[in-house]
Protein backbone atom coordinates (compact mmCIF):
# COMPACT_ATOMS: atom_id res chain seq x y z
CA UNK A 1 0.00 0.00 0.00
CA UNK A 2 3.00 2.21 0.45
CA UNK A 3 3.42 2.83 -3.27
CA UNK A 4 -0.23 3.83 -3.55
CA UNK A 5 0.19 6.40 -0.82
CA UNK A 6 3.25 7.78 -2.54
CA UNK A 7 1.46 7.90 -5.85
CA UNK A 8 -1.50 9.76 -4.37
CA UNK A 9 0.60 12.24 -2.50
CA UNK A 10 2.56 12.83 -5.68
CA UNK A 11 -0.71 13.49 -7.49
CA UNK A 12 -2.00 15.85 -4.82
CA UNK A 13 1.29 17.66 -4.32
CA UNK A 14 0.93 20.25 -7.12
CA UNK A 15 -2.36 21.40 -5.66
CA UNK A 16 -0.71 22.69 -2.54
CA UNK A 17 0.22 25.74 -4.63
CA UNK A 18 -2.53 28.32 -4.77
CA UNK A 19 -1.96 29.07 -8.48
CA UNK A 20 -2.50 25.39 -9.15
CA UNK A 21 -5.71 25.36 -7.07
CA UNK A 22 -7.07 28.27 -9.09
CA UNK A 23 -6.08 26.59 -12.34
CA UNK A 24 -7.81 23.39 -11.27
CA UNK A 25 -11.03 25.10 -10.27
CA UNK A 26 -11.06 27.15 -13.44
CA UNK A 27 -10.50 24.05 -15.60
CA UNK A 28 -13.26 22.12 -13.88
CA UNK A 29 -15.78 24.96 -14.28
CA UNK A 30 -14.92 25.73 -17.90
CA UNK A 31 -14.64 22.11 -18.93
CA UNK A 32 -18.07 21.34 -17.51
CA UNK A 33 -19.83 24.44 -18.87
CA UNK A 34 -18.37 24.29 -22.36
CA UNK A 35 -18.95 20.54 -22.58
CA UNK A 36 -22.60 21.20 -21.74
CA UNK A 37 -22.90 24.04 -24.25
CA UNK A 38 -21.19 21.90 -26.91
CA UNK A 39 -24.25 19.68 -27.37
CA UNK A 40 -26.29 22.66 -28.51
CA UNK A 41 -23.57 23.90 -30.87
CA UNK A 42 -23.07 20.50 -32.46
CA UNK A 43 -26.76 19.82 -32.97
CA UNK A 44 -27.18 23.31 -34.42
CA UNK A 45 -24.25 22.43 -36.74
CA UNK A 46 -22.36 25.54 -35.76
CA UNK A 47 -19.02 24.00 -34.88
CA UNK A 48 -17.27 25.89 -37.66
CA UNK A 49 -19.04 29.14 -36.84
CA UNK A 50 -17.77 28.75 -33.28
CA UNK A 51 -14.27 28.26 -34.68
CA UNK A 52 -14.58 31.48 -36.66
CA UNK A 53 -15.83 33.31 -33.58
CA UNK A 54 -12.91 32.05 -31.50
CA UNK A 55 -10.47 33.67 -33.95
CA UNK A 56 -12.44 36.87 -34.10
CA UNK A 57 -11.98 37.43 -30.34
CA UNK A 58 -8.43 38.60 -30.95
CA UNK A 59 -8.93 42.24 -32.04
CA UNK A 60 -11.30 42.74 -29.09
CA UNK A 61 -8.68 41.39 -26.70
CA UNK A 62 -6.01 43.58 -28.29
CA UNK A 63 -8.18 46.69 -28.08
CA UNK A 64 -9.00 45.94 -24.45
CA UNK A 65 -5.30 45.47 -23.71
CA UNK A 66 -4.58 48.83 -25.38
CA UNK A 67 -7.26 50.70 -23.46
CA UNK A 68 -7.54 49.09 -20.03
CA UNK A 69 -4.55 46.76 -19.88
CA UNK A 70 -4.84 43.10 -19.00
CA UNK A 71 -7.79 43.18 -16.59
CA UNK A 72 -9.99 40.09 -17.06
CA UNK A 73 -13.20 42.12 -17.19
CA UNK A 74 -11.90 44.32 -20.00
CA UNK A 75 -10.69 41.33 -21.99
CA UNK A 76 -14.06 39.65 -21.56
CA UNK A 77 -15.92 42.68 -22.80
CA UNK A 78 -13.51 43.27 -25.70
CA UNK A 79 -13.72 39.65 -26.83
CA UNK A 80 -17.51 39.61 -26.57
CA UNK A 81 -17.92 42.75 -28.63
CA UNK A 82 -15.46 41.66 -31.32
CA UNK A 83 -17.05 38.24 -31.76
CA UNK A 84 -20.59 39.58 -31.83
CA UNK A 85 -19.45 42.18 -34.34
CA UNK A 86 -18.19 39.44 -36.65
CA UNK A 87 -21.25 37.21 -36.15
CA UNK A 88 -23.80 39.96 -36.73
CA UNK A 89 -21.72 41.66 -39.43
CA UNK A 90 -21.64 38.43 -41.39
CA UNK A 91 -25.42 38.16 -41.17
CA UNK A 92 -25.86 41.70 -42.43
CA UNK A 93 -23.42 41.09 -45.30
CA UNK A 94 -25.16 37.87 -46.30
CA UNK A 95 -28.56 39.54 -46.25
CA UNK A 96 -27.57 42.56 -48.32
CA UNK A 97 -25.37 40.99 -50.97
CA UNK A 98 -25.09 37.80 -52.93
CA UNK A 99 -22.37 36.52 -50.58
CA UNK A 100 -23.52 33.47 -48.65
CA UNK A 101 -23.28 33.55 -44.88
CA UNK A 102 -20.38 31.11 -44.59
CA UNK A 103 -18.32 33.16 -47.04
CA UNK A 104 -19.08 36.34 -45.11
CA UNK A 105 -18.19 34.70 -41.78
CA UNK A 106 -14.93 33.29 -43.13
CA UNK A 107 -13.89 36.62 -44.63
CA UNK A 108 -14.74 38.65 -41.57
CA UNK A 109 -13.16 36.36 -39.00
CA UNK A 110 -9.85 36.09 -40.77
CA UNK A 111 -9.80 39.88 -41.27
CA UNK A 112 -10.54 40.28 -37.57
CA UNK A 113 -7.77 37.84 -36.67
CA UNK A 114 -5.23 39.74 -38.78
CA UNK A 115 -6.41 43.04 -37.32
CA UNK A 116 -5.97 41.58 -33.85
CA UNK A 117 -2.36 40.60 -34.49
CA UNK A 118 -1.63 44.08 -35.82
CA UNK A 119 -3.33 45.78 -32.86
CA UNK A 120 -1.47 43.74 -30.26
CA UNK A 121 1.77 45.45 -31.35
CA UNK A 122 0.28 48.73 -30.14
CA UNK A 123 -0.86 47.52 -26.72
CA UNK A 124 0.31 49.68 -23.80
CA UNK A 125 1.42 46.74 -21.73
CA UNK A 126 3.72 44.12 -23.09
CA UNK A 127 1.47 41.31 -24.29
CA UNK A 128 2.70 37.86 -25.09
CA UNK A 129 0.75 36.81 -28.18
CA UNK A 130 1.21 33.14 -27.37
CA UNK A 131 -0.72 33.61 -24.11
CA UNK A 132 -3.73 34.79 -26.08
CA UNK A 133 -3.37 32.10 -28.69
CA UNK A 134 -2.61 29.13 -26.47
CA UNK A 135 -3.63 30.16 -22.98
CA UNK A 136 -1.71 30.41 -19.75
CA UNK A 137 -3.61 28.39 -17.20
CA UNK A 138 -1.07 28.85 -14.43
CA UNK A 139 -1.61 32.59 -14.69
CA UNK A 140 -5.29 32.31 -13.72
CA UNK A 141 -5.99 35.09 -11.27
CA UNK A 142 -8.92 35.71 -8.98
CA UNK A 143 -10.57 37.92 -11.60
CA UNK A 144 -10.41 35.11 -14.15
CA UNK A 145 -11.96 32.77 -11.62
CA UNK A 146 -14.86 35.14 -11.06
CA UNK A 147 -15.44 35.25 -14.80
CA UNK A 148 -15.40 31.47 -14.94
CA UNK A 149 -17.97 31.33 -12.09
CA UNK A 150 -20.16 33.93 -13.79
CA UNK A 151 -19.96 32.34 -17.23
CA UNK A 152 -20.68 28.89 -15.82
CA UNK A 153 -23.69 30.09 -13.84
CA UNK A 154 -25.17 32.19 -16.64
CA UNK A 155 -24.64 29.54 -19.31
CA UNK A 156 -25.92 26.56 -17.32
CA UNK A 157 -28.91 28.44 -15.91
CA UNK A 158 -29.97 29.76 -19.32
CA UNK A 159 -29.53 26.44 -21.08
CA UNK A 160 -31.40 24.48 -18.43
CA UNK A 161 -34.22 27.01 -18.24
CA UNK A 162 -34.71 27.23 -22.00
CA UNK A 163 -33.87 23.63 -22.80
CA UNK A 164 -37.28 22.87 -24.32
CA UNK A 165 -37.53 25.77 -26.79
CA UNK A 166 -33.86 25.18 -27.61
CA UNK A 167 -34.47 21.52 -28.29
CA UNK A 168 -37.42 22.31 -30.57
CA UNK A 169 -35.35 24.88 -32.47
CA UNK A 170 -32.33 22.61 -32.84
CA UNK A 171 -34.47 19.78 -34.11
CA UNK A 172 -36.37 21.77 -36.72
CA UNK A 173 -36.33 25.55 -36.94
CA UNK A 174 -39.41 25.81 -39.15
CA UNK A 175 -41.57 23.58 -37.02
CA UNK A 176 -40.38 25.29 -33.85
CA UNK A 177 -41.32 28.65 -35.32
CA UNK A 178 -44.73 27.33 -36.35
CA UNK A 179 -45.34 26.08 -32.82
CA UNK A 180 -44.74 29.55 -31.43
CA UNK A 181 -41.08 29.43 -30.36
CA UNK A 182 -39.26 32.73 -30.93
CA UNK A 183 -36.45 31.12 -32.86
CA UNK A 184 -34.54 34.36 -33.57
CA UNK A 185 -34.15 34.95 -29.85
CA UNK A 186 -33.15 31.38 -29.23
CA UNK A 187 -30.52 31.49 -31.98
CA UNK A 188 -29.09 34.84 -30.92
CA UNK A 189 -28.98 33.71 -27.29
CA UNK A 190 -27.12 30.55 -28.22
CA UNK A 191 -24.62 32.60 -30.23
CA UNK A 192 -24.03 34.94 -27.29
CA UNK A 193 -23.48 32.01 -24.92
CA UNK A 194 -21.02 30.49 -27.40
CA UNK A 195 -18.95 33.66 -27.39
CA UNK A 196 -19.11 33.78 -23.59
CA UNK A 197 -17.93 30.16 -23.43
CA UNK A 198 -15.02 30.95 -25.74
CA UNK A 199 -13.95 34.03 -23.80
CA UNK A 200 -14.20 32.22 -20.47
CA UNK A 201 -11.87 29.49 -21.69
CA UNK A 202 -9.25 31.90 -23.07
CA UNK A 203 -7.01 31.87 -20.05
CA UNK A 204 -7.06 28.08 -19.86
CA UNK A 205 -6.55 27.09 -23.49
CA UNK A 206 -6.30 30.25 -25.59
CA UNK A 207 -8.05 31.51 -28.71
CA UNK A 208 -6.92 28.70 -30.98
CA UNK A 209 -7.73 25.76 -28.76
CA UNK A 210 -10.86 27.08 -27.01
CA UNK A 211 -12.99 25.44 -29.70
CA UNK A 212 -11.82 22.02 -28.46
CA UNK A 213 -13.55 22.36 -25.09
CA UNK A 214 -16.76 23.38 -26.85
CA UNK A 215 -16.87 20.69 -29.50
CA UNK A 216 -14.92 17.54 -28.68
CA UNK A 217 -16.57 16.34 -25.43
CA UNK A 218 -20.07 16.80 -26.87
CA UNK A 219 -19.02 15.15 -30.14
CA UNK A 220 -17.71 12.19 -28.14
CA UNK A 221 -20.91 11.89 -26.19
CA UNK A 222 -22.98 12.23 -29.40
CA UNK A 223 -21.28 9.07 -30.66
CA UNK A 224 -22.29 7.20 -27.52
CA UNK A 225 -25.97 7.88 -26.94
CA UNK A 226 -29.35 8.48 -28.53
CA UNK A 227 -30.65 10.43 -25.56
CA UNK A 228 -30.41 14.20 -25.67
CA UNK A 229 -30.09 14.43 -21.89
CA UNK A 230 -27.31 11.89 -21.70
CA UNK A 231 -25.48 13.63 -24.51
CA UNK A 232 -25.82 16.93 -22.64
CA UNK A 233 -24.59 15.79 -19.23
CA UNK A 234 -22.14 13.27 -20.67
CA UNK A 235 -20.46 16.05 -22.65
CA UNK A 236 -20.31 18.22 -19.55
CA UNK A 237 -18.71 15.58 -17.31
CA UNK A 238 -16.32 14.45 -20.02
CA UNK A 239 -15.28 18.07 -20.58
CA UNK A 240 -14.61 18.50 -16.88
CA UNK A 241 -12.66 15.25 -16.58
CA UNK A 242 -10.50 16.06 -19.61
CA UNK A 243 -9.82 19.65 -18.56
CA UNK A 244 -8.74 18.59 -15.06
CA UNK A 245 -6.90 15.49 -16.27
CA UNK A 246 -5.12 17.45 -18.99
CA UNK A 247 -4.02 20.04 -16.46
CA UNK A 248 -2.55 17.41 -14.12
CA UNK A 249 -0.76 15.64 -16.97
CA UNK A 250 0.61 18.92 -18.28
CA UNK A 251 2.05 19.69 -14.85
CA UNK A 252 3.94 16.42 -14.58
CA UNK A 253 4.93 16.12 -18.23
CA UNK A 254 5.91 19.78 -18.31
CA UNK A 255 4.02 20.54 -21.51
CA UNK A 256 1.56 23.42 -22.10
CA UNK A 257 -1.87 22.74 -20.60
CA UNK A 258 -4.02 23.72 -23.61
CA UNK A 259 -2.64 21.17 -26.05
CA UNK A 260 -2.54 18.59 -23.27
CA UNK A 261 -6.27 19.04 -22.56
CA UNK A 262 -7.16 18.85 -26.24
CA UNK A 263 -5.04 15.74 -26.79
CA UNK A 264 -6.70 14.00 -23.85
CA UNK A 265 -10.12 14.83 -25.34
CA UNK A 266 -8.89 13.51 -28.68
CA UNK A 267 -8.17 10.19 -27.01
CA UNK A 268 -11.78 9.89 -25.84
CA UNK A 269 -13.14 11.00 -29.23
CA UNK A 270 -11.00 8.44 -31.01
CA UNK A 271 -12.11 5.69 -28.64
CA UNK A 272 -15.78 6.58 -29.13
CA UNK A 273 -15.33 6.79 -32.90
CA UNK A 274 -13.90 3.29 -32.96
CA UNK A 275 -15.58 1.47 -30.09
CA UNK A 276 -18.98 3.08 -29.48
CA UNK A 277 -21.43 0.18 -29.12
CA UNK A 278 -24.02 1.77 -31.41
CA UNK A 279 -22.17 4.13 -33.69
CA UNK A 280 -18.55 3.00 -33.48
CA UNK A 281 -16.85 2.21 -36.77
CA UNK A 282 -15.60 -1.20 -35.62
CA UNK A 283 -18.95 -2.40 -34.32
CA UNK A 284 -20.68 -1.24 -37.47
CA UNK A 285 -18.32 -3.46 -39.45
CA UNK A 286 -18.97 -6.44 -37.22
CA UNK A 287 -22.74 -6.06 -36.92
CA UNK A 288 -25.01 -6.46 -39.93
CA UNK A 289 -26.58 -3.39 -41.43
CA UNK A 290 -30.17 -4.58 -41.33
CA UNK A 291 -32.81 -4.96 -38.74
CA UNK A 292 -32.86 -8.58 -39.68
CA UNK A 293 -35.89 -9.62 -37.65
CA UNK A 294 -38.07 -6.90 -39.03
CA UNK A 295 -36.97 -7.48 -42.57
CA UNK A 296 -37.67 -11.19 -42.18
CA UNK A 297 -41.09 -10.52 -40.68
CA UNK A 298 -42.01 -8.27 -43.56
CA UNK A 299 -40.86 -10.85 -46.08
CA UNK A 300 -42.84 -13.58 -44.34
CA UNK A 301 -45.88 -11.34 -44.15
CA UNK A 302 -45.92 -11.13 -47.92
CA UNK A 303 -44.69 -14.55 -48.88
CA UNK A 304 -45.90 -16.85 -46.12
CA UNK A 305 -43.22 -18.99 -44.49
CA UNK A 306 -41.87 -20.36 -47.70
CA UNK A 307 -38.23 -19.37 -47.89
CA UNK A 308 -37.45 -21.29 -51.03
CA UNK A 309 -36.68 -19.51 -54.23
CA UNK A 310 -39.48 -20.47 -56.65
CA UNK A 311 -37.19 -21.64 -59.44
CA UNK A 312 -35.48 -24.25 -57.26
CA UNK A 313 -38.63 -26.27 -56.57
CA UNK A 314 -38.99 -27.50 -60.11
CA UNK A 315 -35.53 -29.09 -60.08
CA UNK A 316 -35.42 -32.75 -59.09
Amino acid sequence: MNWLFHFLSLLVEPFSYSFMQRALLSCALIGFTNGFLGTFIILRRQALLADALSHSLLPGLALAAMIVGLSPGGLLLGGLIAALFVALGAQVMARNSRLKEETAVASLYIIAFALGIVLIRFAKVKVDLTHFLFGNILGVGNGDLWIAYGAAFLTLATLVLFQRPLLLTLFDVTVAQASGVRVRWVETGLLALTVLGLVASLQAVGVLLSLGLLIIPAATSYLLTDSFNRMLWGGAFLGMICAVGGLVISFFANIPSGPCIVMLMALFLGAAYLFSPRYGVLFKLIRGRHYHEESLERWEGHQGHDHQVPGKESKP
Binding site: L168, F171, T174, S179, Y222, D226
Partner: protein, 252 residues
Protein backbone atom coordinates in the same frame (compact mmCIF):
# COMPACT_ATOMS: atom_id res chain seq x y z
CA UNK B 1 -58.43 33.21 -26.29
CA UNK B 2 -61.32 34.94 -24.56
CA UNK B 3 -63.97 33.14 -26.59
CA UNK B 4 -65.63 30.41 -24.48
CA UNK B 5 -65.14 26.97 -25.92
CA UNK B 6 -68.74 26.37 -27.02
CA UNK B 7 -68.75 29.55 -29.07
CA UNK B 8 -65.67 28.61 -31.06
CA UNK B 9 -66.52 27.70 -34.61
CA UNK B 10 -64.77 24.46 -35.50
CA UNK B 11 -63.28 25.65 -38.73
CA UNK B 12 -60.37 27.25 -40.52
CA UNK B 13 -61.26 30.55 -42.15
CA UNK B 14 -58.99 32.32 -44.62
CA UNK B 15 -60.05 35.81 -45.63
CA UNK B 16 -58.59 37.69 -48.58
CA UNK B 17 -55.09 36.25 -48.17
CA UNK B 18 -52.27 37.63 -50.31
CA UNK B 19 -48.69 36.49 -49.69
CA UNK B 20 -45.68 37.79 -51.61
CA UNK B 21 -42.00 36.96 -51.86
CA UNK B 22 -39.95 40.05 -52.68
CA UNK B 23 -43.08 41.87 -53.81
CA UNK B 24 -44.07 39.08 -56.21
CA UNK B 25 -47.36 37.61 -55.00
CA UNK B 26 -47.48 33.82 -54.69
CA UNK B 27 -51.10 33.74 -53.53
CA UNK B 28 -53.65 36.34 -54.62
CA UNK B 29 -56.66 37.34 -52.55
CA UNK B 30 -57.59 33.87 -51.44
CA UNK B 31 -60.67 33.29 -49.29
CA UNK B 32 -62.07 29.97 -48.11
CA UNK B 33 -63.52 28.17 -45.13
CA UNK B 34 -62.95 24.57 -44.14
CA UNK B 35 -64.83 22.72 -41.41
CA UNK B 36 -63.10 20.25 -39.09
CA UNK B 37 -63.32 16.54 -39.78
CA UNK B 38 -62.07 16.73 -43.33
CA UNK B 39 -59.00 15.50 -45.13
CA UNK B 40 -58.27 18.21 -47.67
CA UNK B 41 -55.92 17.77 -50.63
CA UNK B 42 -54.09 20.80 -51.95
CA UNK B 43 -53.50 20.60 -55.71
CA UNK B 44 -52.02 22.77 -58.41
CA UNK B 45 -49.01 23.04 -60.71
CA UNK B 46 -45.53 23.90 -59.43
CA UNK B 47 -45.44 27.46 -58.19
CA UNK B 48 -49.20 27.52 -57.63
CA UNK B 49 -48.70 28.48 -53.99
CA UNK B 50 -49.36 25.15 -52.25
CA UNK B 51 -46.38 25.38 -49.90
CA UNK B 52 -46.95 29.10 -49.49
CA UNK B 53 -50.52 28.49 -48.37
CA UNK B 54 -49.43 25.82 -45.88
CA UNK B 55 -46.67 28.04 -44.49
CA UNK B 56 -49.03 30.99 -44.19
CA UNK B 57 -51.53 28.95 -42.21
CA UNK B 58 -48.64 27.71 -40.05
CA UNK B 59 -47.86 31.35 -39.28
CA UNK B 60 -44.42 31.22 -40.91
CA UNK B 61 -45.05 33.99 -43.46
CA UNK B 62 -46.42 37.47 -43.06
CA UNK B 63 -49.46 37.99 -45.27
CA UNK B 64 -49.63 41.18 -47.30
CA UNK B 65 -53.40 41.34 -47.04
CA UNK B 66 -56.05 39.36 -45.24
CA UNK B 67 -56.10 37.17 -42.17
CA UNK B 68 -56.34 33.56 -41.11
CA UNK B 69 -58.53 32.41 -38.23
CA UNK B 70 -58.75 29.03 -36.59
CA UNK B 71 -61.74 28.46 -34.32
CA UNK B 72 -62.28 32.20 -34.58
CA UNK B 73 -58.80 32.95 -33.17
CA UNK B 74 -56.05 34.62 -35.19
CA UNK B 75 -53.39 32.00 -35.94
CA UNK B 76 -50.58 33.82 -34.17
CA UNK B 77 -52.58 33.43 -30.95
CA UNK B 78 -53.34 29.78 -31.59
CA UNK B 79 -49.98 28.16 -32.36
CA UNK B 80 -50.73 25.09 -30.24
CA UNK B 81 -53.87 24.30 -32.26
CA UNK B 82 -51.84 24.02 -35.46
CA UNK B 83 -49.28 21.34 -36.24
CA UNK B 84 -46.96 21.88 -39.19
CA UNK B 85 -45.30 18.65 -40.18
CA UNK B 86 -41.78 19.04 -41.52
CA UNK B 87 -40.78 17.84 -44.95
CA UNK B 88 -38.61 14.74 -44.76
CA UNK B 89 -35.51 16.51 -46.05
CA UNK B 90 -35.62 19.19 -43.38
CA UNK B 91 -35.37 16.70 -40.50
CA UNK B 92 -32.00 15.72 -39.01
CA UNK B 93 -32.64 11.99 -38.65
CA UNK B 94 -29.42 11.57 -36.62
CA UNK B 95 -30.77 13.81 -33.87
CA UNK B 96 -30.42 12.11 -30.48
CA UNK B 97 -34.11 11.57 -29.89
CA UNK B 98 -36.25 8.46 -29.60
CA UNK B 99 -39.79 8.10 -30.89
CA UNK B 100 -41.10 8.70 -27.38
CA UNK B 101 -38.89 11.78 -27.02
CA UNK B 102 -40.24 13.12 -30.29
CA UNK B 103 -43.84 12.65 -29.18
CA UNK B 104 -43.02 14.24 -25.81
CA UNK B 105 -41.89 17.36 -27.68
CA UNK B 106 -45.54 17.79 -28.63
CA UNK B 107 -46.36 18.37 -24.96
CA UNK B 108 -43.75 21.10 -24.35
CA UNK B 109 -46.29 23.81 -25.04
CA UNK B 110 -48.63 22.49 -22.34
CA UNK B 111 -45.88 21.61 -19.87
CA UNK B 112 -44.14 24.98 -20.10
CA UNK B 113 -40.48 25.85 -19.71
CA UNK B 114 -39.37 23.83 -16.72
CA UNK B 115 -42.46 22.03 -15.38
CA UNK B 116 -42.29 18.24 -15.23
CA UNK B 117 -44.62 15.94 -17.13
CA UNK B 118 -47.90 15.41 -15.26
CA UNK B 119 -49.97 12.23 -15.37
CA UNK B 120 -52.14 13.87 -18.03
CA UNK B 121 -49.11 14.64 -20.19
CA UNK B 122 -47.87 11.07 -19.86
CA UNK B 123 -51.30 9.77 -20.82
CA UNK B 124 -51.41 12.02 -23.88
CA UNK B 125 -48.03 10.69 -25.00
CA UNK B 126 -49.05 7.06 -24.47
CA UNK B 127 -52.31 7.63 -26.29
CA UNK B 128 -50.56 9.21 -29.27
CA UNK B 129 -48.08 6.32 -29.49
CA UNK B 130 -50.91 3.81 -29.26
CA UNK B 131 -53.08 5.54 -31.86
CA UNK B 132 -50.36 5.41 -34.48
CA UNK B 133 -49.12 1.90 -33.59
CA UNK B 134 -45.80 3.18 -32.37
CA UNK B 135 -45.80 1.77 -28.84
CA UNK B 136 -43.47 -1.15 -29.69
CA UNK B 137 -41.11 1.26 -31.44
CA UNK B 138 -41.12 3.94 -28.74
CA UNK B 139 -37.52 3.34 -27.66
CA UNK B 140 -36.07 3.47 -31.14
CA UNK B 141 -33.99 6.35 -32.40
CA UNK B 142 -35.96 8.06 -35.20
CA UNK B 143 -33.59 6.97 -37.97
CA UNK B 144 -34.35 3.34 -37.17
CA UNK B 145 -37.90 3.64 -38.51
CA UNK B 146 -39.24 3.09 -42.00
CA UNK B 147 -40.42 6.12 -43.99
CA UNK B 148 -44.06 5.48 -43.13
CA UNK B 149 -43.28 4.98 -39.44
CA UNK B 150 -41.37 8.26 -39.42
CA UNK B 151 -44.40 10.09 -40.83
CA UNK B 152 -46.60 8.46 -38.20
CA UNK B 153 -44.19 9.51 -35.46
CA UNK B 154 -44.61 13.14 -36.49
CA UNK B 155 -48.39 12.72 -36.62
CA UNK B 156 -48.21 11.29 -33.10
CA UNK B 157 -46.28 14.36 -31.96
CA UNK B 158 -49.03 16.56 -33.39
CA UNK B 159 -51.66 14.42 -31.67
CA UNK B 160 -49.88 14.78 -28.31
CA UNK B 161 -49.85 18.52 -28.90
CA UNK B 162 -53.68 18.35 -29.12
CA UNK B 163 -53.56 20.17 -32.44
CA UNK B 164 -56.82 20.50 -34.39
CA UNK B 165 -55.29 21.45 -37.72
CA UNK B 166 -52.58 19.35 -39.36
CA UNK B 167 -50.52 20.85 -42.19
CA UNK B 168 -48.56 18.37 -44.31
CA UNK B 169 -46.33 19.38 -47.22
CA UNK B 170 -46.06 16.52 -49.76
CA UNK B 171 -46.06 13.75 -47.13
CA UNK B 172 -46.54 11.02 -49.73
CA UNK B 173 -43.41 11.98 -51.65
CA UNK B 174 -40.84 9.19 -51.54
CA UNK B 175 -43.04 6.69 -49.69
CA UNK B 176 -43.39 3.17 -51.06
CA UNK B 177 -46.85 1.72 -51.62
CA UNK B 178 -47.16 0.03 -48.22
CA UNK B 179 -46.03 3.10 -46.30
CA UNK B 180 -48.31 5.34 -48.34
CA UNK B 181 -51.29 3.10 -47.51
CA UNK B 182 -50.39 3.20 -43.81
CA UNK B 183 -50.09 6.98 -43.90
CA UNK B 184 -53.43 7.28 -45.71
CA UNK B 185 -55.12 5.19 -43.04
CA UNK B 186 -53.50 7.29 -40.30
CA UNK B 187 -54.85 10.43 -41.97
CA UNK B 188 -58.26 8.75 -42.13
CA UNK B 189 -58.14 8.06 -38.40
CA UNK B 190 -57.38 11.71 -37.70
CA UNK B 191 -60.27 12.84 -39.90
CA UNK B 192 -62.66 10.53 -38.04
CA UNK B 193 -61.50 12.06 -34.78
CA UNK B 194 -62.64 15.47 -36.00
CA UNK B 195 -59.28 16.91 -37.05
CA UNK B 196 -58.78 19.05 -40.13
CA UNK B 197 -55.95 17.95 -42.40
CA UNK B 198 -54.51 20.14 -45.11
CA UNK B 199 -52.21 18.10 -47.33
CA UNK B 200 -50.34 19.24 -50.44
CA UNK B 201 -50.14 16.54 -53.07
CA UNK B 202 -48.97 16.42 -56.67
CA UNK B 203 -50.49 13.24 -58.14
CA UNK B 204 -54.10 13.64 -59.23
CA UNK B 205 -54.61 9.91 -59.82
CA UNK B 206 -55.52 8.75 -56.32
CA UNK B 207 -56.95 12.08 -55.19
CA UNK B 208 -60.49 10.86 -54.61
CA UNK B 209 -59.46 7.88 -52.50
CA UNK B 210 -57.20 9.99 -50.26
CA UNK B 211 -59.12 13.25 -49.83
CA UNK B 212 -62.79 14.01 -49.32
CA UNK B 213 -62.22 17.68 -50.15
CA UNK B 214 -59.83 19.32 -52.58
CA UNK B 215 -58.44 22.81 -53.09
CA UNK B 216 -57.15 23.66 -56.56
CA UNK B 217 -54.71 26.55 -56.80
CA UNK B 218 -52.77 28.36 -59.46
CA UNK B 219 -51.76 31.47 -57.61
CA UNK B 220 -55.45 32.17 -57.16
CA UNK B 221 -58.11 29.87 -55.85
CA UNK B 222 -59.52 27.88 -58.78
CA UNK B 223 -61.83 25.58 -56.85
CA UNK B 224 -62.56 24.34 -53.35
CA UNK B 225 -65.10 21.62 -52.61
CA UNK B 226 -65.75 17.87 -52.70
CA UNK B 227 -62.81 16.26 -54.48
CA UNK B 228 -64.61 15.05 -57.62
CA UNK B 229 -66.25 18.44 -58.19
CA UNK B 230 -63.19 20.55 -57.40
CA UNK B 231 -60.98 18.49 -59.69
CA UNK B 232 -63.39 18.53 -62.63
CA UNK B 233 -61.81 18.60 -66.12
CA UNK B 234 -62.78 22.27 -66.60
CA UNK B 235 -61.17 23.27 -63.29
CA UNK B 236 -58.02 21.29 -64.03
CA UNK B 237 -57.79 22.91 -67.45
CA UNK B 238 -58.10 26.28 -65.76
CA UNK B 239 -55.45 25.49 -63.13
CA UNK B 240 -52.87 23.74 -65.26
CA UNK B 241 -53.53 25.40 -68.64
CA UNK B 242 -52.83 28.96 -67.53
CA UNK B 243 -49.29 30.19 -67.29
CA UNK B 244 -48.41 31.32 -63.77
CA UNK B 245 -46.62 34.56 -63.17
CA UNK B 246 -43.65 33.64 -61.02
CA UNK B 247 -41.06 36.36 -60.84
CA UNK B 248 -39.84 39.33 -62.80
CA UNK B 249 -39.99 38.88 -66.55
CA UNK B 250 -39.69 41.00 -69.65
CA UNK B 251 -41.97 41.43 -72.63
CA UNK B 252 -40.41 41.81 -76.05
Amino acid sequence: MSTPHHEREPMLRIEDLTVSYHRVPAIHHLSLSLGFGHCVGLFGPNGAGKSTLLKSVAGLLNPETGRILIEGIAIDQAASLIAYLPQRESVDWDFPVTVRGLVEMGRYHQVGLVGSFSQRDQTAVEEALELFNLTPLARRQIKELSGGQQQRAFLARAWAQEADLYLLDEPFGGLDRTSAAALASALGTLRERGKLLLVSHHALAEAESLFDTAILLNGELVACGPTSEALSPQNLECAYGTAIYSGAHYHS
